[in-house]
Subunit: 390 residues, 2 copies
C-alpha cells in the first residue's frame, strides 16, 4: 500500500425528489446563479421547470447558458467564463451528464484564473480556487459529480484533454431523473463506470487486498444490476444503486494507496476525438482487448478477477483458462448491453490504426498505462485485436 | 435504498512518515495550537518529539493539555475549552487514540458554543461551528478520525453519551506508529471496527446490495488480516490495511441509504460505563449473543453473512445451520484475538444483569436498535446468553 492523500469535500444529496432542494443549497453561496445545461432535454423532461421553481423560491437571480455538447467544447467554456465575469455570478449550477458538469468545472476555474483556461488542460496548470458550483446529475457514468477532473475538447484542433479543479460543492443524485434515458445512453454509462474500476483494479501495487475487495464489491454490483437497469431505467431501486456505483467508482476512494492504469481511457480519448464515438462504446471495444494483451503480466490478478468478480469457477490446473474465461465473461456482459465489440462496429476504418496508435503515444514520445506501459506498437496490437471478434 | 446526505470533508494524509507533515498542515489555520494527548505514551514512543519538531519548524506557538483517559472525561474537556479561550488557540491537534480525538472534538465544539458543552451530549444540541482541529491517530479502532461523532463520560454520574460535531480538518494515519501497541489494544481495536460494520450490515432496508457487498469487502479484509496484525503489529503492510479499514468502517460511506442498528453499542456503553471494561472486549462478549438472539428476524441475511464473509459453505437444506456456523465463526475469530467471550471473563457479576438491562433502555423508556427493536427483557436475554459459553 502506497502513501496517499484523500480529500473529497463534495456534499452528496441522494434520492427521490432531491432536485427540489437545489435552491436552498445554492443560496448559502450568493444570489446570482448561472444555470448550465446541454441540448434542452431537461426542458422536455420537466426538470428545467422544477429547478427554476426551486431557484426562484430561494429568490436567486438566474442566468442561463445551455448548449453543452457531448465532448464539451472550449469555446462554450470561454463564453461561460465571460458571462460569469460580466454578470458577477456567485454560483454555477450544472444540470446534466458528465459533459455539462465538466464544462461547468472549467468555467468555475476560469472565472478565478487570470490566464487562458486551456492552460489547465494543455500545460497541467492546477487551480486551487474556483467559483463554487454544484450539479444535478441526469446521466450516471463519468463520476465527475464527486471528483476534481474535467475533460474538454478544443474546437479547432479537436484535442481532448483532462485537467483538475476543486470538487463540486454539492451534487444532487436522483435516479428518478434517469428513468426516461435512452437505453443506449444507460449502457454507455454502465460501461464507463465499470471501466473506471478496471483502471483501478489492474495494478502492480502489493498489499492492497482491502481495496481489491472494495473494487470487486462495486464491480460485482454493476454486473449484477447493470443489465436490468439497461433494459428498464425506470427501475428506481436498481438504478439508484448503479447511480451510486458510478459515483464511487471514480470519487478516488477506491484507489487510495494503489497505482492505477488509464491506458485504455487514453486510447479511447483519441478514438472518440477522431471519430466522435460514445466514450462507453469505445471502452467496450477496447477493454477486453487490452485485457487479452496484458493478462500474462499478472495472471494471478486476472484469475482473481475472473473468480471473484465474473463468477468463473477457477481451474486450478489451468489458471490461464480461468483468466480468459473472465475476459470472455466481460464480453458477454457487454453483449447483453448491446455494446459494439469491434472497431468496425464503431464505424472505424482499420487503415487508421497506425495513426491512432501514434496519436495515443503523442508520436512515440510517451507510453500509456502503468499496469503495463504501452508503446505505439503495443497499442497497435491492441487495436488490431479490436478489429477481430464477432 | 433510502434517501441520504453524505458529506465528509476530512483530509486524510496516510502512510509512512506522514506525522512529519503536521506542522505544515496546521499553519494554514493559524499560529497557536493546543496539543492534546493522553497518558504520555507518545512521549515514550518518540512521537511527541517528532510532532513538536514539526510544529516548531512551522513556527507554531504550542500549548499542551495531556491526561486524556480511556472513556474521556467532561472535566478535562472543560479545562481544554477554558485553556483555548484564555490563550486564543487557533487549532487543536489531537495525538492519540479515539479517546483523545473525541475529547478534542468536544473542546473544539465547546470553544464556539455559548452554553455548557454537555448540552450536546445530554440534550442532542448539534453545533455547526467548531475550532478547526486535526488528528494523528495512534490506535486504529473507533473511526472518529474521519467522522463527526464524539463520546464523552460525565465525571460525577459516569453517564457516557455521544454527540455530533464538525469533522476533523485532517487526520494523519501512519501504521508505523502502531508497531509497538500492546497486542490486547490492537485486538480491542479490531473488534471495535468490525462491530461498526456489523451495526451497518444488519439492516431492514431493501435494495442495498451494493453497500452489502462493500461492507462485506471490508469485514472480509479485517477477518483475513486481523489475527496477523494482532500477533505482529509491526507488520506495516497488513496494519496499514487494517488501519484504513477502521477508518472507512465508521466514516459513514458504508451506511449510505440504509438503516443501521447500534443496539449492541448502546448496551456495551452501559457496560463499560458501569465496569470500565475495554469497549472492544465488551463488544466481543455481546455481539455473538446479539446475533444468536436476533438471527431469526432475517435468516437470509445471516446466511448471506455466513457464506460471503465467514466462508461458511451454505447448507441449502438447512439455512439455520448455515447462519449459526457464521456466528460460531465470529466467535472463533474473537478467540484467535484472545478476546473475552463471557460477562464472567470480563469480571461482571451476573446479578447485575437486570440493572444493566434497565440502564440500557433508560428504565424502560426507550428500545434499542433498529434491525430488531429490543426492550429491557430482550436485552436481559442477550445478557443471559452472554453469561454462558466457554
Amino acid at each position: 500500500m502506497e502513501n496517499f492523500t484523500f480529500y473529497n469535500p463534495t456534499k452528496i444529496i441522494f434520492g427521490r425528489n432531491t432536485q427540489h432542494e437545489v435552491g436552498q443549497e445554492i443560496i448559502k453561496y450568493g444570489k446570482k446563479v448561472l444555470l448550465h445545461y446541454g441540448g434542452g432535454s431537461i426542458k422536455k423532461s420537466g426538470l428545467y421547470d422544477e429547478v427554476m421553481t426551486s431557484l426562484k423560491n430561494s429568490n436567486l437571480e438566474v442566468y442561463e447558458l445551455g448548449g453543452v455538447v457531448p465532448n464539451p467544447l472550449l469555446s462554450l467554456v470561454n463564453e461561460g467564463i465571460n458571462l460569469c465575469l460580466e454578470k458577477q455570478i456567485d454560483f454555477i449550477l450544472a444540470v446534466g451528464g458528465g459533459s455539462v458538469i465538466d464544462s461547468a468545472k472549467a468555467i468555475a476555474g476560469g472565472v478565478k484564473y487570470e490566464g487562458d483556461i486551456w492552460d489547465c488542460y494543455s500545460k497541467g496548470v492546477t487551480l486551487s480556487d474556483a467559483l463554487p458550483y454544484g450539479t444535478i446529475l441526469t446521466l450516471p457514468a463519468t463520476g465527475t459529480e464527486m471528483n476534481f477532473r474535467s475533460v474538454i475538447t478544443k474546437d479547432d484542433t479537436l484535442e481532448k484533454r483532462g485537467a483538475s479543479f476543486p470538487n463540486p460543492t454539492f451534487s444532487i443524485l436522483n435516479a428518478e431523473l434517469c428513468a426516461t434515458l435512452p437505453n443506449y445512453q444507460v449502457a454507455n454509462g454502465i460501461v464507463d463506470m465499470l471501466a473506471h474500476l478496471f483502471e483501478r483494479y489492474f495494478t502492480n501495487t502489493k498489499n492492497v487486498d482491502i481495496t481489491d475487495r472494495q473494487i470487486e464489491a462495486v464491480m460485482k454490483s454493476i454486473i449484477e444490476l447493470g443489465v436490468d437497469v439497461y433494459q428498464d431505467p425506470s427501475d428506481y431501486d436498481k438504478y439508484a444503486q448503479i447511480m451510486w456505483a458510478g459515483t464511487i467508482a471514480h470519487n478516488y476512494s477506491l484507489c487510495v494507496g494503489r497505482e492505477t492504469d488509464w491506458a485504455t481511457h487514453q486510447i479511447e480519448h483519441e478514438l472518440s476525438g477522431m471519430y466522435n464515438v460514445a466514450h462507453g462504446a469505445g471502452l467496450a471495444v477496447l477493454f477486453p482487448n487490452w485485457m487479452k494483451y496484458v493478462y500474462h503480466h499478472d495472471l494471478d490478478r486476472f484469475v482473481q478477477f475472473a473468480t471473484r468478480v465474473m463468477n468463473v469457477e477457477p481451474d486450478f490446473f489451468n489458471p490461464e483458462k480461468t483468466a480468459l474465461k473472465g475476459i470472455e465473461a466481460v464480453i458477454t456482459f457487454y453483449k447483453k448491453l448491446n455494446m459494439p465489440l469491434t472497431l468496425k462496429a464503431l464505424g472505424i476504418d482499420e487503415k487508421r490504426i497506425d495513426e491512432l496508435a501514434l496519436l495515443s503515444t503523442r508520436n512515440n514520445t510517451i507510453k500509456q498505462g502503468n499496469f503495463v506501459k504501452l508503446d505505439t506498437e503495443d497499442i497497435k496490437q491492441i487495436l488490431l485485436l479490436s478489429c477481430a471478434g464477432d
